[in-house]
Symmetry: D2
Subunit: 336 residues, 4 copies
């Protein structure tokens, strides 16, 4: 940690800072430059993070040198993490495809989707049972009934299933049914839920918050990891910017950045990332080319009748074409 | 709702859209312009919101005419809402001041703060007991012990108290102690928690999410209102932008915008909004001049020793000076 | 154009709006919905755009139905535009590679770069002679001397050259040397310069502004097109967001969006888009997979000694490896 | 400047960095912390800014310690700058009001506006003659004829005049007529124009770019100052964010931030900042309460007929009411 002193910081102020920090076991290096004087602090990251150094008189600003995350960091864990779910390996070098409807709506809808996903070469079935909706008047999901239908689709097709958990009170219920827990963008900093998931031994896919920096996202992963659950998968799903033509701005550069900073696998969701079905295929191809470990896309047998996210859902035919296109990016194979 | 058709939409596509919508009881007005053909849809807002019209073949884009919120809307409730808490009226025309430390840290700290807030003319005491922290390694609050200390400070000073609730599992616990529940920015779209709070008859202050539009914020208020709790107070606390000099960008224009769109009172939090104590006083003055119903500011007897948010906390002396400055904006009186 | 009336708009206000608009030759369709009353305006786009309808008493908001651009629009010009520069075709289905140093620094530097670009299969040579720098104390480019060196490199290698024009006063000078004019992000709305370039019959690559929406970007293209120059190439180079790990956020979804809205070719610049050389290769692959018509990347024989943008420049070896990687995205061939 | 080394940087890499920097006259301090090793660089700011240290092998990231601006800095010039224009002092402690129509449209319009601005207590008359418009099909201003009409309004009322200069080629023309040159948001990084204005001895008001950080804004001021023109006034006019209810997000915290970092006066433009006339008055009051040196607001005798920016213009009556309201913020007096 570096403290930059104000130009007119007094000797008393500087001495007070140094004395206070040294009393807490922090080493302080004083360095006078041409314009600015700085103090370099050396000490335990946790101790440093708990001293409000910015608030001392004479301090202009404070700069962090180290990343705040540790367990999620590539320097702590140099090899990429691989997560296996019923025989499907995520992060193992071969991208995987998660697909299915935004919401589970009926037995027919989810079974038809599951069979089509399987037939086209998809690896994991998605489907929402508890839905976060910005309006209290929108369809909120089938709840446990949806989870049961998902499980039935898994039994029929062999595809592992993923579904979102929205609140701590039904975490156990969701965990009982699904193979991978999904933590949505709006809950990326629901710290209580993060901790509870950290105490379960089940893979979890953590979506990036709409306005979360990559560092904050990795800190949320750190919450889960630090409670003991190592099976964390990240998912880039678009960030909020000023551009309005797409629903969000899919930040594909997050893929190589995560690969540089962390060992955790990263999935890309171009359906939420763009919000418009005509852009899902090109952004799927781009995500794979950028090095993503897989994709999550929304498909629906009849998007016109979808109870949620119809505008961004592919038809089952669109999906099958996309799977063929992806195969043509050399070296890519989706298999199940 | 307006559907803009693609330039090359066929008659079959248009007919299919019209027939489908009319079958659901929606009136459709066809209108051919110079460049574009549009369909104007007239019908119940809830029915319309559940049809994925964007997904029909031949549709270029869809535009909303009505606001999606109703109970939070000024057109539904033209008079400003007033919320009374132990004799303090919020939204009644005279701005109020909520102040106190970011976190409750000790008996001495909260009592000293409470007496200073009271002496300077503050109206409500704030203090965090359960703290949302982006790092799992940071101080997480005293929990119930913090709530007990807050209640003791209320008993000594008569100031009503406000504290944050972070998860549904301890909502009842927090509600038992505090006079106003605070819902933090990171939980603005924690829909499960919103609904549970909507079923409690206690005032709640709903902070704007870091990247929430004003419309989304009002939709979250709608969640609480639609469950039956009318005592909602909004709080602008800065949004996330590209500017890094301040921690967030305090969007003061949200004050007159909320006054135009809604009847709910709005408080401004310049401490989180700027993140730097030297900017708290000018932004407090500005918020009141913009028409805010009150302020929430962080004060701490010894900011250098604060366990959270020290950099943005005022000393008790700074706070007293601020209260005097605010009084000089003509017509403003803080009293308790 | 749609006018949404205020809930309490009076008959006099509505009549006044209708009368005023009809007097200007606009047809007005009145439509009363459940919550809102709207007026649909049909008329010439240019006339409509010059009436400040928002300002009439009784108006809540105004919504645009048509895109504001015409010549840049795909509906006006359904076939993709192809631009040929000394035998290199841009927009013809086969992606092209523009590469070279950020700034021309010396004869050796630009010739060594040009030969390496050529040898690896690049198609066009880039190099800055007039440099926009955020600090007045930074290297500002070699000026005309830089253009002469670029032209010499073209003579030696046969590669067409592209360089930035920053102000109207030396447009003619730059145009005399280069094959493609580059208009930088900071000048995307330098309307005077756009118009002047529109009167020259030379290809121009128009970079997207740091905070420009796709619609504004196409409107800037419209400025050039409307003055008579049809040879416009667009270039996505990253937008400004809250994320700080990368210098900008490369918005690759702009590629399919532009393909949907416009007939103009689109190039992607991952060097400025990320600002960090280690991310240039993955984002280059992703851009091509998303459907871009080509790339612009910065290369430098000795990035450590670059006078500008060293951190994001590839070495000549990195560049050669990248060209091989790109070839492996099936169907992609760079040739010159 | 601080270099943070990669965890696995080798001794050779570190030695190479140190040797290279020392050869350029930079002192290098080596400091090994718990997680990271850093190099502190001490030397001339200009030399440091020209070495691409980020690009050396073994470097993880580079952090700036000093601000990049000097002449614009408060530490260089501790007293606030005051700029006098025909007897009106800007930055002298008493806020001033600039008002007038967006565009000069006719003799009657500008004279009527000027008399009303004067009568209500305004200090400076604004009016656009050369207009930056995002569409080539919109009204582009009256050009020199507009400047002549402005000058006539000055002669009649005694109000100094301000108008925008858009390109270097008519800088001299505009400077001949106006008392203050205005540089628009879209030209904030038009470096050629900045330099030319820096060589003229005339006050200039520099608007903040739509996506400019405060640091970049001050660097653009530095361009003007470093060429010799000390009469720079800053103007906050809203930044681009995700919020769409207002046209821009007025960043009022820029006012105290600029006061902290710089000696230059700062004006706030709530008309462009919000884009909607109903929000101009509250944001004007807030700007003054935040400490702004003045305001710039758009007024029009008949906003319904304005050729540009009608939606955000106040009527002459609205303006007169606003001036009275502002007077009631204690201690504020506008006089002319």
């Amino acid at each position: 940690m570096i403290i930059v002193l104000e130009q007119n910081a007094t000797k008393e102020q500087t001495d007070h800072i140094v004395t206070t920090l040294e009393a807490k076991g922090v080493q302080v290096h004083y360095s006078k430059g041409v314009d600015k004087t700085i103090l370099g602090l050396i000490g335990n990251k946790q101790i440093l993070s708990q001293i409000p150094v910015q608030r001392f008189a004479g301090v202009e600003k404070v700069m962090q040198v180290s990343e705040p995350f540790k367990l999620a960091s590539r320097s702590f864990h140099p090899e990429p993490s691989r997560i296996e779910v019923r025989g499907v390996e995520i992060g193992g070098g071969r991208p995987i495809m998660m697909a299915g409807p935004c919401s589970v709506e009926s037995r027919e809808q989810i079974l038809e989707s599951a069979h089509a996903v399987k037939a086209a070469g998809g690896n994991i079935l998605r489907g929402g049972a508890f839905k976060p909706r910005s309006s209290p008047y929108s369809f909120q999901g089938l709840g446990e009934e949806g989870l049961k239908l998902l499980a039935e689709a898994r039994d029929e097709t062999g595809l592992p299933i993923i579904s979102e958990v929205m609140d701590p009170e039904n975490l156990e219920l969701v965990a009982e049914y699904v193979d991978i827990l999904q933590l949505g963008a709006r809950n990326m900093q629901n710290f209580h839920l993060l901790k509870k998931i950290g105490r379960i031994n089940k893979p979890v896919m953590l979506k990036r918050g709409l306005s979360a920096t990559i560092e904050e996202w990795l800190m949320s992963a750190e919450y889960i990891l630090s409670e003991g659950n190592p099976h964390v998968i990240l998912c880039e799903r678009g960030i909020r910017t000023f551009e309005t033509h797409t629903r969000n701005t899919l930040d594909l550069s997050a893929v190589p950045v995560i690969k540089h900073l962390s060992h955790l696998p990263i999935i890309v969701d171009p359906s939420h990332g763009t919000g418009i079905c005509r852009y899902v295929a090109p952004m799927s191809r781009a995500a794979i080319a950028a090095g993503a470990d897989g994709l999550m896309v929304e498909v629906h047998p009849k998007p016109e009748e979808a109870l949620s996210d119809g505008p961004q859902s592919l038809t089952l035919e669109n999906f099958s074409v996309l799977m063929d296109e992806l195969a043509s990016i050399q070296g890519i194979e989706f298999t199940n």
